[in-house]
Symmetry: C2
Subunit: 279 residues, 2 copies
Amino acid sequence: MRARSVGGVKTKQRPFYRQADDYDPLMPYDPSAFPPFAVTVDLVVLTVRQHALCALVVRRGEQPHQGRWALPGGFVRGDEDLSAAAARELTEETGLLAHDPTHPAPPNAAHLEQLATYGDPKRDPRMRVVSVAHLALAPDLPAPRAGGDAHSARWAPVESLLKQEDAFGRETGHGEPLAFDHARILADGVERARSKIEYSSLATAFCPREFTVGELRRVYEAVWGVALDPRNFHRKVTGTPGFLVPTGGTTTRQGGRPAQLFRAGGATLLNPPMLRPEV
Amino acid sequence: MRARSVGGVKTKQRPFYRQADDYDPLMPYDPSAFPPFAVTVDLVVLTVRQHALCALVVRRGEQPHQGRWALPGGFVRGDEDLSAAAARELTEETGLLAHDPTHPAPPNAAHLEQLATYGDPKRDPRMRVVSVAHLALAPDLPAPRAGGDAHSARWAPVESLLKQEDAFGRETGHGEPLAFDHARILADGVERARSKIEYSSLATAFCPREFTVGELRRVYEAVWGVALDPRNFHRKVTGTPGFLVPTGGTTTRQGGRPAQLFRAGGATLLNPPMLRPEV
DNA sequence: TCAAAAGTGTTCACTCTACACCCATGC
DNA sequence: GCATGGGTGTAGAGTGAACACTTTTGA
């Protein structure tokens, strides 16, 4: 069902179509059978700051949607895998490294995974763009640094970024809706994060390398927007094999009685899962 | 917040690059900044036949991988959304209609959802192709019909399609590995289906419109590859609100005592979930 | 001494599992 | 009758929610 063999026609070099001109004439195809697309990656980078789930947004410096906030992203290069493009954008925007889960996490590591692909023909008025969105989960960071373009960037609570979709009353100074279909992409990423911390150990990706049970609980509370019982939460996470490994140290940075410090354990799937309270 | 009207300048038609020539000069961009990609959809179409989870594969009629089995798929058209392209391919290959879950299912309906996107620069030797894979779940069908091209198509047990990845001993006559990276895509689709029937009512997508509890149980057993206790299964599915609605009819098509017939209920998320036995 | 956060013990309700048992059909 | 699959009852183990209670620090 792919390219139909109609005999390849090698045309003159055209800078816009390098890859297709590169093809092997022994494997014929008909270039008019597939319209060219631009392929981008967009990033939903989430973190927890001050008890709120926040996303990284950048100010667009050019048309279309100039001046609007948008998700960070960029074009996939001609010889680059999708995951490599997403990792490159992530590092450019945040300085974080994508974390290969088969290796121990480096200090500045973030979780990165593919989210979904958005290809509405009208999503970019310039041309046909297919965007492969990725989801990144990062610990609380210092102020975001600007990317390659001289645009500004900030962490914004997802609640305020998504609120505009339903109500038009601007409650804050940053009440403008996101550019393109980025509100939809952000909503999908947030929903993925909310459901994934339920049955995987990904919530630790929001924590610094060493953290307490209380800090992990505040991550769950911020992402789900609920209050959890500290006593039962403690028993549950410490009783789930492979979730947490004690480092031996303690801290009183949250006040009160000293709390044990933990690192993320090797387990990726939680059994039993953490249960999100009913709504 | 979508396309803004700025008044476009239509240039002369160029068949290889129509979309990009369509762009609006008031929204400047640098075409050399994004290499063109071909975008395809590939389909993982699963069904349950004779107690086995099966996938639809088609014989490739052309290079590369000529003569190998592959997942059905094709190019996304220039003005077509990704989900529309997937639905079109599904209908071409199987005659099934993609099912919009907000409406009651038509007779020949299948579940269709986006799976993941595969964009390794080397995945297609001809050129840079990004494939947006979709997952479809269908009831047991009559023999598959050939698509637009005169290729052959068949249902193959996923176990035999995936076995070649690990062992090279060809156990059956159809032991050749799938074309391109389709074994990987199929494996991802199967894993998605296996985990999704756990917490959603999607298993009913494998059943005909009216079905018995025993037939639904055999779907779970085939997809998970386990045996389930018929008594507890019955209690569980009939006790989950919104999962099944009785039609009032009965059947003895499986032999034994007449069994009640059910239709899929409106619920999409199962609470409590079906629990896959430990491995 | 008091507030604050960490951590433990206990109780009750609910769910899962295993399996004994009964039901309604075709042959 | 008897095999076959459909369906219900029930006891024991395990899990989650709620909350009383103890521990250990800083101010």
